[in-house]
């Protein structure tokens, strides 16, 4: 009975690890989608309504997809330090502090670079920078979706299979 319970626990644990892997892949896709939608909103606000950056960030910290709101909330909070440091530094710190996004280094770098242009240049140049970043993120998103479709089953299968394998070995 104890052996059976142990086997169930081992399979359960490895299965959970597999499921977490699947969730992580799905989450990555959601975060990238969230960032792309937020950048669209940001572009519209800046280009169509000339909304000041503080208001854009404040709006996004409330209405952007939930998984990316933290980034904009941190940037909004950081705006109180404007004058002590530049907007670029505020934005860079917000990106660096957004661990929950689990961005890969290249993605974090792309997002950080946007801060060099945001609020600093005229509408056209900002729109170009946001558009460029969006296109890069869309490419990354497509790869992330392919990765999710390809690896989800693999994660699930290996999670359970490695549990069964371990049980067989241990028994």
């Amino acid at each position: 009975m104890i052996r059976l319970l142990g086997a169930a626990l081992v399979i359960g644990a490895t299965g959970t690890m597999g499921a977490l892997g699947v969730l992580s892949l799905r989450r990555r896709v959601r975060v990238l989608e969230g960032l792309i939608v937020s950048l669209q909103l940001m572009e519209s606000e800046i280009c169509s309504r000339m909304t000041p950056m503080r208001e854009v960030l404040d709006m996004l910290s409330g209405s952007a997809p939930a998984c990316v709101r933290g980034l904009f909330r941190r940037a909004t909070e950081g705006m109180s330090a404007l004058g002590r440091c530049s907007f670029y530094t505020i934005w860079k710190n917000a990106v660096a502090g957004s661990y929950e996004l689990r961005l890969r280094p290249q993605e974090a770098e792309l997002l950080t670079e946007l801060g060099l242009c945001l609020g600093r240049y005229d509408v056209r140049e900002q729109a170009e920078a946001i558009g460029r970043l969006r296109r890069r993120l869309e490419l990354i998103l497509r790869r992330a979706e392919a990765e999710r479709d390809r690896d989800s089953r693999l994660h699930a299968f290996f999670g359970i299979a490695s549990g069964i394998f371990a049980v067989i070995i241990l028994l």
């Binding site: 909304t51 000041p52 950056m53 404007l82 530049s86 609020g119 005229d122 509408v123």
Partner: protein, 305 residues
């Protein structure tokens, strides 16, 4: 709160537009100078200074850097150059509290029009001032048969035109025992006259004043005429043929006008082609001079000519 306290508060508000490293130096200015300060001036490679009625007071300390001016612009625009685009192209940024940051540097242009700045070399933070009572001496003379006669305030830059205009608007739009207030439509293109914030005027412009801010003067005057039924239209700094056209139009609609123009004096003003029609539009001319830190206001009645 006394008038002095209010001026110190305005100075301190202007200091908040400076990058952090320059704020302490600006805060070291003694109270008597803070009360009288008209501008905070920054020039790359030189220490910051404060403009007082008698001249500039250098604050010493570290020289201002180009990076400081970039930070100043970032603070003044709230890291939103796109929101201040047109103003920035004209070389200034209106800020909270009625302050105005004027900029100088290398501009880039396209099709003969300035499109922005490549770099900044100097900046001046103009502090909005309220001088209650400065219009007392001339105010009764501006009325003819109980109605306000159209009045043009003429003075060189920095003499106090805007301050006088604001005070006149406040007095005219506030009912008193001697006369009822008039409805004033205030066209505040640069946001310096009323310092609107969330629909509330940061500077007192009277009870019966309707403020249209951020709008080009020519367009604003027409909008006010169509929408707010003003008895008086007030605007700062007539500088373009469009402004003159709007003024003529408003005058023909039976509205009294209060406006300002840059000039050394009335003869200087009338020698310029743009202002040739002024004589037919304005009934009074007020000149403001700054002599050794003292403001001298003269009213010339019966036509600006």
């Amino acid at each position: 709160m006394t008038a002095g306290d209010s001026m110190v508060e305005r100075f301190d508000g202007a200091v908040l537009l400076l990058p952090y490293k320059l704020r302490e130096r600006a805060r070291s200015v003694v109270r008597s100078d803070r009360v009288r300060a008209e501008e905070i001036r920054l020039r790359v490679g030189r220490p910051m200074s404060v403009l007082l009625p008698e001249g500039e007071l250098t604050l010493g300390g570290e020289a201002v850097t180009a990076r400081d001016l970039e930070l100043l612009v970032e603070i003044a625009t709230g890291a939103s150059v796109h929101s201040s685009g047109q103003w920035l192209k004209d070389g200034f940024i209106p800020c909270r509290g009625g302050c105005r940051v004027g900029l100088c540097g290398s501009v880039y242009s396209s099709g003969g029009e300035v499109t922005g700045f490549n770099s900044f070399s100097s900046a001046s933070i103009r502090i909005a001032r309220e001088h209650r009572g400065i219009a007392d001496a001339i105010l009764p003379g501006l009325f003819r048969d109980g109605a306000l006669a159209s009045t043009l305030i003429v003075a060189p830059p920095g003499a106090g035109k805007t301050t006088l205009l604001r005070e006149l608007v406040r007095r005219i739009a506030s009912p008193s025992q001697s006369r009822p207030g008039l409805r004033v439509g205030l066209c505040d293109e640069r946001g310096e006259l009323a310092a609107m914030r969330g629909g509330v005027a940061g500077l007192d412009v009277g009870e019966l004043t309707d403020v249209l801010d951020g709008c080009p003067k020519a367009q604003g005057a027409l909008m006010l005429l169509r929408t707010m039924n003003p008895q008086v239209i007030a605007m700062d700094e007539i500088t373009s043929p469009e402004d003159m056209a709007a003024i003529n139009f408003a005058r023909n609609c039976g509205v009294s006008l209060l406006a300002t123009a840059h000039a050394g004096g009335l003869s200087d003003l009338l020698s310029r082609p743009l202002y040739r029609d002024v004589a037919g539009v304005f009934d009074n001319c007020v000149t403001v001079e700054n002599r050794n830190g003292r403001r001298i206001i003269n009213l010339q009645k019966g036509g600006a000519a």
